[in-house]
Structure formats: structure tokens, C-alpha cells
Assembly symmetry: C2
Homo-oligomer: 242 residues x 2
């Protein structure tokens, strides 16, 4: 992965500063963070952290996509979160996670050593507050996802997923004509509580209807935003999942 870039980036010029932990830090605090910071890279498919591993770092995603997933005894798998650039891994006061973190694409993390980070946290209420806000946002997203998993049809799930991608790319300022579909059909299925065959069929269906168009199996454009929104099953305005 792009090590040169990773090593070049400083927290003070972090591309994801607007959402990351350092969002509201002053220069002194940034300097403190810089001291305990390093960039770590993972290649697609690599496991960043196994369920139950002791965590030495807390991290922000700089680029790439990582997944959080849980597995039942018999191998059934459910993704419980998707980490896009600017998302945070790790939590104050806990040293382990109850799910696997896997790099879905090549990933670069901006990592902070856990112990000094927590000391800094204790002295810097606004970073702490920022983490609470992020946890609350995650909780909201998890609850929206519960509605999706519990009540939505396959078609609605797919539409909601695409809508979420569209929205996230707007936020991150990369509103390209072609959106990258960053996951395999199987990973999407795992996220949506479906099988890969159903995902494939529903994507084909939306393509046939002219709602989306593929330039490549992993790249697509939304050609009918209204129809897509309609297919999500959410209220026209609300139902925004971040």
C-alpha cells in the first residue's frame, strides 16, 4: 500500500481532520497527538484485529475500507459495521473488541498508542466529548441498521445500502460520477443479512430498471436518485444513515 503517502501525512494536515479525534484540537494538542501517532498499513483481506485481541492502539481510518464482523458457531457471519475514511476504531476504557476488524481493501490507519492516548483523554475533555459524540452517532447508525435487518425486504436493503454509500461520498467530498462499490457481493450480503445470490439478483434488477448503471462490476452510477430513494422504504427526508 501507499506507504509514501502514509509517512508523509502529519496529523496537522490530516485529510480527515474534520471528523477525526483532532477535529477541535489546538496546536499544542495536535503536537501531543503527533508524538504518539503512527501510520499503519494493511493489505486487502488482512485481519487488523481479531475478536478479543488486546488492543495496543486506537485508530482513525485514513484510507481504505475496513469491516467489523461477528461470527456464530456454525460460521454464519454478520457484519456489524463498516469503517470508511475518518471513522474511528477503539474505545476508551476497553482494551478488547468483541468483533473482528478486517481490511476490505488496502487500508491505512492513523494509530495512537492506547495508554498515552487515554492519559491525554483524561486531560482533554473536548477530545473525550468528541468520542462520545462519535459513539452516539455509531449507536444511531446501529439502530437504523437494526430496522434494516429486522424489517426491510432484500430490495429495500440494497437500495438503502447504495443510498448510504452515495451519502457518505458526498460528505467526504468525493462525489465522483462513478461510485466505487467497495465490497464483494458476499461482503455486501454479510452487511445486509442476505446471501450473495440475492444481492446479485437485486443489483441486476435495479440495473434493469435503470435505477443504477455499472461501468464495471465494482463501479456504478445512480441514474435515478428518486427511484433509489423510493426503493429504500425510508421517509423521503429522514432515514439518513451515516
Amino acid at each position: 500500500m501507499n506507504i509514501q503517502l502514509a509517512e508523509r501525512v502529519k496529523c496537522s494536515e490530516c485529510p480527515i481532520r474534520h471528523r477525526a479525534v483532532c477535529a477541535r484540537c489546538d496546536d499544542d494538542e495536535i503536537e501531543m497527538l503527533d508524538k504518539i501517532k503512527s501510520y499503519r498499513s494493511f493489505t486487502a483481506g488482512e485481519t487488523i484485529s481479531w475478536r478479543g485481541d488486546e488492543l495496543s492502539h486506537v485508530s482513525s481510518v485514513v484510507h481504505g475500507i475496513a469491516t467489523l464482523s461477528k461470527t456464530l458457531d456454525d460460521g454464519r457471519m454478520q457484519m456489524v459495521g463498516l469503517l470508511l475514511p475518518s471513522d474511528f476504531i477503539g474505545r476508551p476504557g476497553r482494551t478488547t473488541l468483541d468483533f473482528d476488524v478486517v481490511a476490505a481493501s488496502d487500508v491505512t490507519l492513523c494509530s495512537f498508542e492506547r495508554k498515552p492516548f487515554e492519559r491525554l483523554l483524561a486531560e482533554t475533555p473536548h477530545i473525550s466529548q468528541r468520542l462520545v459524540e462519535m459513539a452516539m452517532d455509531e449507536l444511531d447508525a446501529a439502530r437504523d441498521w437494526m430496522v434494516l435487518l429486522g424489517r426491510k425486504t432484500a430490495r429495500e436493503k440494497i437500495a438503502t445500502f447504495i443510498q448510504m454509500l452515495v451519502q457518505r461520498s458526498h460528505v467526504d467530498g468525493t462525489d465522483l460520477p462513478d461510485l466505487a462499490l467497495p465490497l464483494t457481493r458476499e461482503e455486501i450480503a454479510s452487511y445486509l443479512g442476505l446471501t450473495l445470490e440475492t444481492v446479485s439478483r437485486q443489483l441486476t434488477q435495479l440495473k434493469k430498471e435503470g435505477v443504477i448503471a455499472f461501468s464495471d462490476r465494482r463501479k456504478f452510477t445512480v441514474t435515478d436518485h428518486a427511484a433509489l430513494l423510493d426503493a429504500t422504504g425510508d421517509d423521503a427526508d429522514g432515514g439518513v444513515i451515516v
Copy 2:
């Protein structure tokens, strides 16, 4: 509901102190909390707060059961949380919730006025920290529930739900021979992403198999803990949902 009790209770003698916001407060802090505190009662079926309502209070549940639920346009409903005694409603830095809060039974809340509570929070890092921990626990629970909703069979859902009830009652020290099933079949269905008919059939099935026994439609005993655990689909040890 039991107003006499509600008015008699003081925070310093709060039955739920071990998990509530005041868990680690010293006497001065308890006194501060007492000043901005009141008890509020709701009768079964009453809506405590509608989605989007401005919140004047943050609260802990003292007794009774409340549900958090979300509704899609066409009326499909998904419960996204269950509040048992000692659970907390409200969040720092936000004045609205994105779901309805409904009293499933008669409910008493220990409520704090939001604004003074937030001022207190700013000055009292350990209460703030306690809230972060609670948010993290909720997030863990939400993620376990995502696995349930996305991957488990109806039978596993029911078994997991009962297992959760058993565990929660242990924690709260009310390990009675008969557990109260605090919700209607419809509410259970809403929590588990099922229909009420399926819930009824699965409960009947577990009864037939001798896993649980009913003394009343709303009261039951687990007669075969091993079989119940086995039916949850979780690992023998892990998979604890709180």
C-alpha cells in the same frame, strides 16, 4: 403506578444505584443530583417521548419496562432497544431522540433536568465517563442484536431473548423461580424482527420440548437451561447480551 414509593426514594438510596449515573458519586455530587431530580410515572402503553420531541430531561428507569422503537412509512415497526430498571434514556449533547420511547408496563423514571444535568456533567468527568461506558455497552448490545436480526432463525431469536431475560434478572438480583415475560407476543415480535404468530408458535414449541414452562401466559420458568443455551446459536460461554 406506585407513586408513594416513587416519592419516597432518594437518589442516595436509589435501588439502581449500582448502574445508574450516580454509581460513583460522592455525597456532594449526590446532593447536586438530588436537587435537579424528580420521579415521573407513566402507565402501561403511554408514550414517554415521541421521535423528535425536545427532551427536557434525561432519566434512569427505576421500575417497569420501556421500549425504544422505530417505524417505517408503511407501519412496519422494529424495536431497537428495551429499557429495564437501571437503564438510561437521553444523551449528552443531543436534545432529541430518533425513536419513540413507550412504557410497556407501568414505569417510574428518575429524571434529571437536562440543562443543569449537562452543566454538572461538564464539571464531573467521572459521570461523563460513566455515560460513555453505558453508551459503549449499548453499542455492544446493539451489535449483538444485529447478528440476531440478520442471521438467527426464529427459534434462535426466541431462545436468545429468553436467555437475555434470565441474565438480566440475575444481574438485577430478582432471580425468582418464575420470570415475568414483560411484553406481549406482538412486542416480542417487534423486538426480534418476527411476527406475533411466529413468536407464539416458537414459544409453544419450546414448551412442548420441556425447555420452558408457563405458569401463566406472561410468567414462565426455564426448565432446561442447557437446552435453552443450545438453542440460542451462540457460543456456550460468549454471546452474552446485556
